[in-house]
C-alpha cells in the first residue's frame, strides 16, 4: 500500500465560496435509501416542492407505489386552522393501514417544516409509542437549509444509531449505503481474511440493525457521514482511519485498515486480495490510455469528489484542475487529501457563477457536475460526466474499479465516435 494513503494532519489550501449552489438538498437521498432498506418508508413532511423534487430527481416513476411520499403542508396548517400534529398523525395512520409491510417509518424534515419549527422528533416519539412494536417511527432532517444532497443519508443513518442495541462483542461495522452486490463482495473479502463478525449500516431490513459498543470498529464506506460517525463514537465505537474504497488503491487501503485492526497477517491479506487487486488493476489499466493526462474539473455535488479525484489522479493519470466539494471533512479525508497533488485547487461550498467562469476559462477535458449544468456545458462544447450516476452506480471495491473509470471514459469516447 502506498505511503501517501496514510493519515496526516497537513491541510491543503481550500477556496471557500458562498453564493448560489447548484446542488440537491438532503431529501434526494431518499431515492436510494428507500431501495436499500426494504421495509422502510420515508415520509417527507414538507411542500409540493419537496414532492416534485424527489419525483424529478428519481427521474423515472418506476415503482408502482414507492416507499416514499410527501405529507404536503397546506395553508390550513399554516394558518393554524388545523392542528399540524393531528393532521400528521392521521396521515401516518392511513399510510400504515395501507402498507402493513412497513416496519420502519422515517418522518423526514424539510425546509418548510424546519422554518415553521414543526417538532418531528416529538411527533416520531408519539407515533412510535402508538405503533410499536409493529412499526418504529424515527425522524431526521433532509432540508436544504441544513443538508446538501448526500448529507441526507448521513442524517438518516445518524437517526438509526440511538436505536441500535448495545453489544460488547468485537465486530467490524461498514457504514454507508452500498449497492447490495458491493456489500456481498466486501463481506466475502472480510471472510477470506477471517475478519468477523461484519455488520452493515444501513441494514437491508430494519430488523437487522446492527448492535454497537466499545468493541465496535467501523469503516466508513462513504465520505459524507459526519454526524453518523459522531453518533457512533458516542456509542463507544471507533473509526478506522482509511481511504475510501474507490479504485484498486483505495479499496486496498480501506481493507488494509480493517486487516491491521484485526491482526490479519500480511500474507493472509495478500492472499485474500490478490485476485481482486489484479482484476481491478487490469480493468482500470484498460481505461488509462483514454484518460491519462486529461484535465478534469469537479463541481461540488456528493462529497465523493475528493476520493474520486484521488482515484483519477493516481490510478488513471488525470490532471486535477479544481476539485469542488460541498463540504470538506478534513478528518474523514485524512488518508485522501495527502494523496492529491500539492498544487491541486480544492474548493468548498459554491458560487456557481464564479465557478462556471473559472471552469470555462480553464477549458477542462471533462467536467463532473450535476444535471442542471451538464447539458448547458455540453452545448458549449465541454464534455461532462453527470455526478449523480456516481451515486446510482456501484463503483466501490475491486470489481467495480473498472466500471468507475469507465464512467469517465464514456463521455470522452462518445465525443470521439460522433461524426455529426
Amino acid at each position: 500500500m502506498s505511503e501517501a494513503l496514510q493519515r496526516i494532519s497537513v491541510a491543503p489550501p481550500v477556496l471557500r465560496e458562498r453564493g448560489q449552489r447548484e446542488v440537491f438538498c438532503g431529501l434526494t437521498g431518499i431515492v436510494w435509501l428507500h431501495r436499500k432498506i426494504q421495509d422502510a418508508f420515508f415520509l417527507v413532511v414538507g411542500s409540493r416542492t419537496c414532492a416534485h423534487l424527489i419525483q424529478s430527481a428519481a427521474g423515472v416513476m418506476i415503482f408502482s407505489e414507492p416507499r416514499f411520499g410527501t405529507a404536503i403542508i397546506d395553508e390550513r396548517d399554516l394558518a393554524g386552522l388545523a392542528d399540524v400534529n393531528e393532521e400528521l398523525d392521521r396521515e401516518v395512520t392511513r399510510l400504515l393501514d395501507r402498507r402493513p409491510d412497513i416496519k420502519l417509518l422515517f418522518l423526514v424534515g424539510s425546509c418548510p417544516s424546519e422554518v415553521i419549527k414543526l417538532d418531528l422528533h416529538r411527533a416520531a416519539e408519539r407515533l412510535s409509542q402508538r405503533f410499536m412494536p409493529n412499526v418504529r417511527v424515527l425522524n431526521y432532517s433532509g432540508s436544504g437549509i441544513e443538508t446538501t444532497f448526500t448529507q441526507g443519508e448521513d442524517a438518516c443513518l445518524a437517526a438509526l444509531v440511538p436505536e441500535m442495541a448495545h453489544t460488547t462483542e468485537r465486530q467490524l461495522m461498514v457504514v454507508g449505503a452500498l449497492a447490495d452486490v458491493v456489500e456481498d463482495q466486501f463481506r466475502s473479502l472480510f471472510d477470506a481474511m477471517g475478519i468477523g463478525p461484519v455488520t452493515f449500516l444501513p441494514p437491508r431490513q430494519s430488523a437487522e440493525l446492527p448492535a454497537v459498543g466499545e468493541e465496535t470498529c467501523y469503516l466508513l464506506a462513504q465520505p459524507f457521514l459526519t454526524d453518523t460517525a459522531l453518533a457512533l463514537n458516542q456509542r463507544g465505537a471507533r473509526r478506522l482511519a482509511a481511504p475510501f474504497p474507490l479504485g484498486e488503491e483505495g479499496t486496498t487501503g480501506w481493507l488494509k485498515a480493517a486487516a491491521k485492526e484485526f491482526g490479519v497477517s500480511d500474507e493472509k491479506f495478500a492472499q485474500a486480495t490478490a485476485a481482486g487487486r489484479r482484476r481491478a488493476r487490469h480493468a482500470v489499466g484498460a481505461q488509462r490510455e483514454q484518460l491519462e493526462n486529461k484535465r478534469v474539473f469537479f463541481f461540488p455535488d456528493s462529497q465523493l469528489e475528493i476520493p474520486l479525484a484521488r482515484f483519477l489522479y493516481r490510478e488513471l493519470g488525470m490532471e486535477l484542475l479544481e476539485v469542488g466539494t460541498p463540504y470538506l471533512h478534513q478528518e474523514h479525508l485524512d488518508c485522501e487529501l495527502p494523496a492529491l497533488p500539492e498544487a491541486v485547487q480544492l474548493s468548498e461550498g459554491q458560487d456557481v457563477e464564479l465557478q462556471l467562469d473559472r471552469c470555462r476559462e480553464l477549458k477542462p477535458d471533462i467536467v463532473v457536475c450535476g444535471l442542471g449544468l451538464a447539458n448547458p456545458l455540453e452545448a458549449d462544447g465541454i464534455t461532462t460526466k453527470w455526478s449523480i450516476e456516481l451515486l446510482f452506480t456501484p463503483i466501490q471495491g475491486y470489481e467495480q474499479a473498472g466500471d468507475c473509470a469507465e464512467l469517465f471514459c464514456r463521455p470522452l469516447r462518445r465525443r470521439q465516435v460522433l461524426r455529426v
Binding site: G19, Q20, R21, E22, V23, F24, C25, G26, L27, T28, L43, S47, R48, T49, A51, H52, L53, S56, A57, G59, M61, I62, S64, E65, G69, T70, A71, I72, I73, D74, E75, D77, L78, A82, V84, E87, L88, R90, E91, R94, L95, C111, P112, E114, V115, I116, S143, G144, I145, E146, T148, E353, L371, G372, L373, A374, N375, P376, E378, A379
Partner: protein
C-alpha cells in the same frame, strides 16, 4: 395536510420558471434555499434545452435565518442584473422563502434598477404549477404592455396595412408539444392570411410583450397558462380571444372558422383544401376494429377536453371515463363528461386515478406520464396526451398535437399501441399457439409491453389474473369458468371478468360457471 406519492404539477414557482425559461432577455431571481435548484434539471434534462434556465436562486441556509436573508436577496438581485443584463426581471419566493416573509418585490424595488422588475406572489401552499405560470404571464403582460394601453374609453388603433394581426398566447418551456404546436398554428394562421404579431411567452422578449396591444385579436393555445392574460388584454385593449383549441380535425376546422370570423376573412377555401389523413384513415376498413374501443382520458383540462372529443368523434372510440387534475377548469371537464354520460374524475391524487383505471379496465388510456405507468402495470395500451411529461415526450421529430398535422400525429400515436385488427382475431381463434399467444407482445410492437415470447412447447397455461374473489357476498368462479375466462384474449379479459361478475351479482348467482360467462356475454351484447 395530505399525503401524495406522485404529483401532477410542481409548485407555482416552477410555473414561473416555465415562463421565464421560454422567454428571452428575462431573468428570474428566486428567494429559495439550496435544493430548489433541482428545477433546472427539468429544463436541461427533460426538455434538453442547451442553456441554463435564466434563474438565480438566493440559496439561504439555516444560519442565515436568524440574521439577514433580506440583504442576501437584494445582493442576489443586484448581482444577477449586473451579470446577465436582462431587459426585465421577475422576483419572488419559493415555498420556504414565503414563510420568512422577506417581501422580494419591495426589496427589489428599493434597488431602483433601470429595467422593469415584476414582483410575483405565488402562494405555494395553495396553488400549483399551471396557476403559477398563468399568474406570472399575466403580471408580465400587465407590467410590460400596460404602459401602452389606450386611455380609457378610447379604442386601439387597427393595423396600418389592413392585414389582420394576432398574438399567439400560452406556449412555455416544458410544455407538452408546445414547440411543435406553435409551428403548426403559425402555418395555419398564415395560410389563412393572418399575420403574427407576437408569440408569447415562448421566444418572446420583454419588448415583444410591450407590443401585444398592436394585434387585432389573441389566439389562446393553452388556457391553463394564457387565459388570465388574454382576458386582461381583452379588457384593456379590446382584443377578442379565441376559444377553440385546434386539436383534432373538427376542432381545427372550427378554429379556422373562429379565427376567420375574428379576422373578417373567408375560411371556406382553406377548409376545402384541408388534407389531414385522419378522416380517411379512420374510414379505411382496417380501422373498423377501433370501433367502440374503450378509452380512459386523463390529463390537463385542455388536452382532456380535446382528446375525449377526438376519441369519440374522429376515431370512433367509446370514452368510458375522463378526468383532470386542473381544478381551475373542472367545470368544463364536468360538462363534457356529463354530455358523454359520465362522471368526471377531478383529482390530483394519483392513487385515485389508478383505482379508477383498474375498475374501468379500458382498452386504451390517454393520459400523462403517470397514467402511462398505471397502464403499463395493468397491461393496458397507453398514449401520452398531456403534462406531466418526460424526456420521450420531446421527440426529435416534429410531432404537434394541433392542426391538421397534429391530427395525423394523434391517429398514429393513439392507434399504434393497440392490437391490430386481424391480429386480434387470430389471437381470439388460436389461443394456444405457442409463439402467437396472449403473452407475446403484438408483432408490430417488438418486445415492448409484453413478456418475451420464448418458444416454449407448452402452451402458456397459467392464468395470471387474481384467483377466486373473496367470499363476502361476491360471486366466485368455478374452475371451468375460470379456464374459459383464461381463453378470452387478454385485452378484453378484464372487461369480461368485470361484466360477468356484475351480471352474476345482478342475477344472484353465487358460483360463476361457463354458462354464466356466456349468459353474461349475451346479456351485455344486446
Amino acid at each position: 395536510m395530505h399525503l401524495t406519492v406522485w404529483t401532477y404539477e410542481g409548485p407555482p414557482h416552477v410555473g414561473a420558471m416555465r415562463v421565464a425559461t421560454a422567454m428571452k432577455d428575462l431573468h428570474y431571481v428566486l428567494h429559495a434555499p439550496q435544493g430548489d435548484t433541482y428545477a433546472d434539471l427539468l429544463f436541461t434534462m427533460i426538455e434538453r434545452i442547451p442553456r441554463r434556465p435564466p434563474v438565480t436562486y438566493t440559496t439561504f441556509q439555516a444560519r442565515d435565518l436568524g440574521s439577514d436573508t433580506a440583504t442576501l436577496f437584494k445582493d442576489s438581485v443586484q448581482a444577477a442584473y449586473e451579470r446577465f443584463q436582462p431587459k426585465a426581471m421577475i422576483v419572488g419566493a419559493s415555498c420556504t422563502a414565503e414563510l420568512i416573509q422577506d417581501d422580494p418585490g419591495g426589496l427589489a424595488e428599493a434597488l431602483q434598477l433601470p429595467i422593469p422588475v415584476v414582483p410575483l406572489e405565488l402562494p405555494a401552499y395553495q396553488r400549483k404549477e399551471n396557476w403559477g405560470a398563468a399568474e406570472t404571464f399575466y403580471h408580465l403582460v400587465r407590467a410590460l404592455a400596460g404602459p401602452h394601453a389606450p386611455p380609457p374609453g378610447e379604442r386601439r388603433e387597427s393595423s396600418p396595412d389592413g392585414t389582420p394581426r394576432c398574438n399567439i398566447l400560452g406556449p412555455t418551456a416544458l410544455g407538452f408539444r408546445h414547440r411543435d404546436d406553435v409551428r403548426e398554428v403559425v402555418a395555419l394562421l398564415q395560410e389563412l392570411g393572418v399575420a403574427i404579431n407576437v408569440v408569447a411567452p415562448l421566444d418572446a422578449a420583454p419588448a415583444d410583450l410591450a407590443r401585444l396591444g398592436e394585434a387585432d385579436f389573441n389566439v389562446v393555445l393553452y388556457p391553463e397558462i394564457a387565459d388570465t392574460a388574454a382576458r386582461w388584454l381583452k379588457r384593456t385593449f379590446g382584443q377578442p380571444m379565441t376559444s377553440v383549441i385546434p386539436i383534432g380535425v373538427n376542432a381545427t376546422c372550427d378554429f379556422i372558422r373562429e379565427v376567420a370570423a375574428l379576422a373578417e376573412l373567408d375560411a371556406q377555401p382553406m377548409l376545402e383544401r384541408q388534407q389531414s389523413r385522419l378522416p380517411w384513415y379512420s374510414r379505411s376498413i382496417d380501422s373498423t376494429y377501433l370501433t367502440g374501443k374503450r378509452v380512459f382520458v386523463f390529463g390537463d383540462a385542455t388536452h382532456v377536453l380535446a382528446a375525449a372529443k377526438v376519441a369519440r368523434d374522429e376515431l370512433g372510440f367509446e370514452v368510458v371515463g375522463l378526468g383532470t387534475y386542473s381544478r381551475e377548469f373542472a367545470r368544463e371537464v364536468r360538462a363534457l363528461a356529463k354530455e358523454m354520460g359520465l362522471e368526471a374524475l377531478i383529482t390530483d391524487d394519483y392513487l385515485e386515478v389508478e383505482q379508477r383505471v383498474t375498475e374501468l379496465q379500458p382498452e386504451l388510456v390517454l393520459g400523462t406520464q403517470m397514467e402511462r405507468h398505471i397502464a403499463k402495470r395493468l397491461g393496458i395500451a397507453c398514449a401520452v396526451i398531456s403534462s406531466p411529461i418526460h424526456v420521450q415526450d420531446f421527440p426529435a421529430a416534429h410531432s404537434p398535437q394541433m392542426g391538421f398535422e397534429g391530427a395525423n400525429v394523434l391517429f398514429d400515436t393513439w392507434v399504434h399501441p393497440l392490437m391490430m385488427g386481424l391480429e386480434e382475431h387470430l389471437l381470439g381463434m388460436f389461443r394456444e399457439d405457442f409463439e402467437f399467444n396472449e403473452n407475446a407482445a403484438p408483432s408490430h410492437l417488438g418486445r415492448y409491453g409484453g413478456p418475451t415470447a420464448v418458444a416454449s412447447p407448452e402452451p402458456a397455461a397459467p392464468e395470471p389474473a387474481p384467483a377466486v374473489p373473496a367470499s363476502d357476498g361476491e360471486p366466485c368462479w368455478a374452475p371451468d369458468a375460470e379456464k374459459a375466462l383464461g381463453q378470452i384474449p387478454f385485452f378484453v379479459r378484464g372487461k369480461a371478468r368485470r361484466n360477468t361478475e356484475s351480471f352474476a351479482r345482478e342475477q344472484g348467482v353465487s358460483t360463476i360457471t361457463v354458462e354464466t360467462l356466456y349468459d353474461a356475454k349475451a346479456h351485455f351484447s344486446r
